[in-house]
Amino acid sequence: MGKVLPLGGNYAVAYAVKACKPEVITAYPISPQTTIVERLSEFVANGELDAEFLHVESEHSALSVAIGAAAAGARSYSATCSQGLALMNELLYIMAYVRLPMALTIVARALSAPINIWNDHSDFMSVNDSGWIMMMSSSNQEAYDEILLAYRIAEDPRVLLPVITAMDGYIQSHVVEPVEIVDDEEALSFAPKRRSWVTLNPDKPVTMGPVGDPNWYFEFKRQLWEAMKGSRAVFDEAVAEFAKKFGRSYSAIETYRLDDAEVAIVGMGSFMGTIKAYVDRARKDGIKVGALRVKLFRPFPAEDVAKALSNVKLVGVMDRALVPGSPTGGFLHSDVACSIKQAGLDVRTLGYIAGLGGRLLTMDNVRQMVDVLLKYKDSKEVPKEPIFIGVRE
């Protein structure tokens, strides 16, 4: 086993990437992602990591370079957030359709405008239909571990899809926690370079990214659905193997004191730490509240979510990205509500919008969220519009 280092989330990710030994790294600086690529630059500069490092002129070119590198057979890496991810947007869809693996870290940050470098999930959520496998951590150790999981899953010949690993900007990226670093050999034996995909090889020429006319486009998309669906079993295998090898276990969702809960809060990312702390406090007062954190967002673990919430009366789903005009106001709430409906359960949901643009979540905010659940837990009607937490009205 490796050693424990005090690391911010970004440095943790940089160490994990180094251990996975990508051949091509490419990125464009954007806060709060920068320290990932700074540290990776140092690794390459010191000869600790043998990789081609391309200093591109935009995030658009960063992902273009990564696509070209992956197409030529290399393990590639990039990191971005917010406007950088928005600039990559069209290429995300293309990379998934061409079925090229890579790991891309999103250090989640609000989308402009107003321009804001602080944390929410609006960048992450904006690409939820791009065909990438998407996961979000809630600790720096988990952010580290997700890189290893990402390469193992992405390059599995049953999957061949790119993977986004996300963490909260600043709250994780720049806050130091103890992180266990595994040996490079151990990392590579968990996430071996399988060279499992079709590449641009002059000895076996292929055409990549051809025109898909109405006679074929649909079939490509259909295959993408199957690949994404199939990736769930590979994810489960990977986390099981990870637990065996490294002793840390993960699953698509994390449940907290849900067994006898009457009400529950569902959310993603680092805020779940605050919510779990409040759950402990409320439990002392006899309030039957639990929490559920979604780690794997694509493919969405609908059955797991529904099963975990099946005995709860009312669920409050916290979105950290606003979808103006949608029925729920947030992608997470929509997916959770749909999962419950598909399972045929009589469990109601309401939604919160919280923590946009770096607005922090206080214990008092969580108390408000739980109070709303207690108020409506036995009533027939629950608020349809999202409840905005911690905003000036």
């Binding site: 200093h55 658009h60 370079v65 590198a69 290429l91 051809p210």
Partner: protein, 316 residues
């Protein structure tokens, strides 16, 4: 200098298959064909969205007998940089034999080069990536139906610079931006112009470019039958006239030195080039005079770069 080659010396092997959907008389198809003859089997091509792309790779067909990739419109250079970096890294790891030379070529149209792909191109050139970038320039967005691009010349009709009571075709009063000068300003070791009307010149330049490590750029004038409003059999003739009138000069830049590869001791009047094409049919003698002046100035500029009068005055 080595003995000049003739068309009989060009390799017989074809890497662009027949049966693609490019127009009859399309100079881009002839450009691709000769570029690949020069580059050979061990070549990977990155192509942006363009007429050449959509007409050559309609799934499940492909005209490319070498590995080929299309990703998006504005990033052919960046994709090529990624391919080149991967090859470099995989060679260091011994996964690709060190002695195997694999050419990485990005090949895009004028829209994908002058306009939307300009930023990525600049990145590839300034970083010094080992990529040959070739712009096949048909002087407008032909793929979408002949819209004006940053490479459309003065006076040319396009569907977005139509000829009406107020507009008389493209009105930019100066010569379009100089792609070779832009490449040279990035300190590339090699840059060249060419046209498939002089296929051995094109062939030799691709060969030379690929023999040099680092970023290289070639600007290839490529006629478009529907876009230039010409008959299919005039595709090559019009490109020859472009060179013979000085409208286009075949030259190369190598490590600080410029050399004209198709000297034209006596130029034909530019009118002969313009009058062959429907896109210029509305031009008055006054308009043509203005274009002639632009061409004269450009010729003078190139003669100065080479240090002698390689392109002569207009005859008669």
């Amino acid at each position: 200098m080595s003995k000049p080659i003739t068309v009989w010396d060009l390799p017989k092997e074809e890497f662009l298959a027949s049966g693609h959907r490019m127009c009859q008389g399309c100079a881009a198809a002839i450009t691709f064909r000769h570029v690949l003859k020069a580059a050979g089997k061990d070549t990977i091509v990155s192509m942006p969205t363009s007429c050449g792309e959509i007409t050559s790779t309609v799934y499940p067909h492909s005209a490319w007998r070498i590995p080929w990739i299309h990703v998006a419109f504005e990033n052919a250079a960046a994709v090529a940089s990624g391919i080149s970096a991967a090859i470099e890294a995989l060679k260091r790891r011994g996964e690709i034999p060190k002695e195997k030379d694999i050419n990485v070529i990005a090949m895009g149209g004028d829209g994908g080069t002058f306009d939307i792909g300009f930023q990525a191109l600049s990145g590839t050139l300034e970083r010094g990536d080992n990529v040959l970038y070739i712009c096949y320039d048909n002087e407008a967005y032909m793929n979408t139906g002949i819209q004006r691009s940053g490479a459309t010349p003065l006076g040319a009709w396009t569907t977005t610079t139509p000829v009406g009571k107020v507009w008389r075709g493209e009105w930019r009063p100066k010569k379009r931006k100089d792609l070779i000068a832009i490449a040279v300003a990035h300190n590339v070791p090699y840059a060249a112009t060419a046209t498939p009307a002089f296929p051995t010149d094109l062939y030799a330049k691709v060969k030379k470019a690929l023999s040099i490590k680092g970023p290289k750029l070639m600007h290839v004038l490529s006629s478009c039958v529907p876009g230039w409003r010409i008959e299919p059999e005039k595709g090559i003739e019009v490109l020859k006239l472009a060179v013979l009138t000085g409208m286009w000069v075949n030259y190369e830049y190598e490590n600080g030195t410029y050399r004209v590869t198709t000297p034209v001791p006596k130029r034909k009047p530019v009118k002969e080039y313009l009058r062959l094409q429907g896109r210029f049919r509305h031009l008055t003698d006054e308009d043509i005079k203005k274009i002639q002046e632009l061409v004269d100035a450009e010729v003078e500029k190139i003669n100065k770069l080479v240090g002698k009068q390689v392109i002569g005055p207009v005859e008669g």
